[in-house]
Symmetry: C2
Subunit: 463 residues, 2 copies
């Protein structure tokens, strides 16, 4: 459901035309309030794709996107991509994919922008300071679930195209929609050239046929929760070492060039620590930290479904508990191999417990990592666009998170791809109090305008 930034080029000679950046940038500045209002409407829709109960909102969200693009004169399609099968065997209609095309001039490059408008789960009681679905402006920061990930970046691309249209300027390239997904590493604008993949697992331990009273049955039943805690505790050591045999061995070694590149990146360890709010990180130096964010795998245990998770006390023996954990993928790990390694390992540690309960391990997401060539003309175009709008050099960064479609697009289409984030480094994607600053939203729109022009100037021979 994550539809991220991908840019593919038709290999045609571009039509070079005069680029009126100042007029476009002024137009954008003067329409800031309107842009914020549109973002408010989009954030108000709880398009949480991980919750099947919210599927109707997701359909409504996709319809809203399609409508906006239709009103701008795009050739819009809502593509049916079929059904999804739920763990209980039921099927559910997947949200349609919106495609839109602006311009079909074969003499121009075509920029294809991908992004997503679904969001992560969010509830006020998770610890949000504001209603996550009511966009709230606090000192120029626009708080709301999906603001940064990924509704504002999607809108920024739409506004970029809209600005050309409103000023009756010809688009320098053909643009195909939809979207984009990542953030800057620091206050310096960034271009992203790699992401980690992700293998997301469910480990379900099932015992009694229903939940039991812990006073009445405790002591006679082999409790699924105890079994589950026992096997989860074998995944990773306190010092961050992955204990599943074979995982670490597959990882490409850190090269001297990489080490040097990480060393040169603007990244303040103390800032990072303060921002997260911890007194100590897993590693104390910059290169180790960046390397473990971007190019080493890690295991995170996200939570347990089926156990008692509400406030208060409940004396229950949960009958079926499902742990959710994921392993970030990096070159040269292979998700199919990881699935087997994890499944075999957990079954072997579970067998040692001699429990009558049943263990089921399922890999529900298996997304490969992605890595691009930072010398590619697309990246050169991005660097120039950033220099123009922000008057700064871009950081070349990787992303610890996963944007599965990036790798898929590169593999399937054979086209080149760039990620051009506009989210801030402190936007809180996937966590409470997610926000997008007005600055990044508006300047980001200008960056996209500028980038479209830069791409139009790339020569056919060089891509």
């Amino acid at each position: 459901m994550n539809l991220p930034a991908v840019l593919s080029l038709l290999l045609v000679v571009s039509t070079v035309q005069a680029f009126q950046y100042t007029e476009l940038a002024q137009f954008i500045d003067s329409h800031q309030e309107e842009y914020v209002e549109t973002l408010r409407d989009w954030v108000a829709i709880e398009s949480d794709s991980s919750n099947v109960m919210r599927r109707k909102d997701l359909h409504r969200m996709m319809e809203l996107v399609a409508q906006k693009l239709r009103l701008m004169g795009g050739t819009v399609e809502l593509v049916d991509i079929g059904e999804q099968e739920l763990p209980d065997g039921q099927t559910l209609l997947l949200p349609k994919v919106v495609t839109a095309q602006f311009g079909t001039d074969v003499n121009k490059h075509t920029v294809c922008v991908y992004g997503h408008v679904d969001v992560q789960p969010a509830k006020l009681e998770d610890g949000w300071a504001t209603d996550p679905y009511n966009l709230t402006d606090i000192n120029g920061h626009l708080y709301g679930r999906g603001a940064s990930d990924n509704k504002a970046p999607v809108l920024a691309w739409i506004h970029a195209v809209g600005a050309y249209q409103a000023l009756n300027m010809e688009l320098p390239v053909n643009v195909k929609f939809v979207i984009e997904d990542c953030g800057w590493l620091s206050r310096r604008p960034a271009l992203t050239y790699g992401t980690r993949g992700n293998c997301y697992f469910f480990a379900e331990v099932e015992g009694p046929k229903q939940d039991l009273h812990s006073g009445v049955y405790g002591g006679t039943v082999i409790e699924p929760m105890t079994d589950l805690i026992g096997i989860l505790d074998t995944l990773i050591s306190p010092s961050g070492k992955i204990l599943i045999p074979g995982i670490r061995e597959a990882v490409a070694p850190l090269s001297d060039e990489e080490w040097k590149m990480y060393q040169d990146i603007q990244f303040d360890v103390e800032d990072y620590k303060n921002k997260i709010g911890v007194s100590q990180l897993m590693y104390s130096n910059k290169v180790d930290l960046l390397a473990h964010r971007w190019r080493y795998p890690t295991v995170t245990i996200h939570g347990i479904e089926g156990a008692f998770s509400d406030p208060g006390t409940k004396t229950v023996i949960p009958s079926k508990v499902t742990a959710k954990f994921s392993i970030r993928q990096v070159p040269d790990m292979d998700p199919a191999m990881v699935e087997k390694q994890v499944t075999d390992y957990l079954h072997s540690v579970f067998a040692k417990r001699k429990s009558p309960n049943k263990l089921k391990v399922t890999m529900v997401i298996g997304a490969k990592p992605w890595l691009a060539d930072t010398q590619h003309p697309l990246y050169e175009a991005g660097k120039i666009a950033i220099k123009r709008v922000f008057d700064m050099d871009a950081d070349l960064i990787r992303e610890g998170g996963t944007i599965p479609i990036a790798r898929t697009f590169q593999d399937v289409l054979g086209k080149s791809l760039i990620m051009m984030p506009i989210g801030g480094f402190d936007d809180g994607m996937h966590s409470q109090n997610e926000k997008m600053s007005r600055h990044n939203y508006i300047e980001g729109t200008k960056l996209f305008i500028s980038y479209l022009d830069e791409v139009s100037q790339i020569q056919k021979t060089s891509v």
Copy 2:
């Protein structure tokens, strides 16, 4: 919040009067539908005391009980017992306690009935076949949260008094309200002479100041969830051995008399296994099973608050996670000692991890076990009443669960106490699809009527 069965006697000579059991039993049979409707009204109120958001429903529930007892002519008080302090420092009004008195004749014994009308949490999506707050009759079983634990038993006591009133018969004893809490062990009616206590713990591990995206931060942060899983895994072995130093050593050894008593109890291990739906229990023979339900401590991990517990996938590093687990108390354990043993132990295993995260261990409930003399006149009265209504001998059983006020009453008032359950052995208290059978509800009402009469015949000298 658990207000269970307690019966205290004023030590006066009883007024013996003719007991018209048949008329009373017929009256009860002919009012079955009305009794079920009242239970339906009570079950409809989500009086979940563990959820502070439901406090209003709990107040409403207590008001409904008071009103019912007032309409019957009881002297009713709603006693304010003050406020409760929440973990965040806020205070919240505790639900009032309802007291009611029927009769003040100093020549009669006084039976004091205690019970509770608050319930355990329940949601349809926990796996209920029916709406937990809409009492549903399926083949004579009345499904609903709180049906068995403890609303129907409370109503049965009220109906017992009401039947005497409706037939213009004098109550053989004075009755003080409210109530009762436990179930039979088999299809044979039972008297309960002991309960385990319960020490309920919160173990909170706090790290980053807010939830983090596991892709973006995973690998650099020492995750609270990993720490929590690590320390939970040190509480109990796969074979059920409690690993916290000092706990097992405090437990009174199993006597030969106990062994013999357990051996004689009607309890079918295969039935028990089938009812729970497991292929193997922690122990395979009857005495071990009963002993580990009733007279040995155990550890149950109930769940984790603050982690991702919904269906679907979420790539979050939870910033603060709180495990809920409890240890059942038996003679001669001491909750204050257990609190220290658990706290010290968890801090010591946590220290070995060298984590920068903060661990906080809190004992939020510390309830002692309770044990009565089965030869006491109250138990003799109970045995006779059971024989009359069910034409069977009572099982003398203990209860693995906890009824904290039982012990408190015995200690504070110095009065004798009996527990006379009417819930069925398969009622599913605290779990999904809780129910009370019509049979137990109606025959239980008759049992209480019969018991009140038996108590009136106990001589002053014998109690």
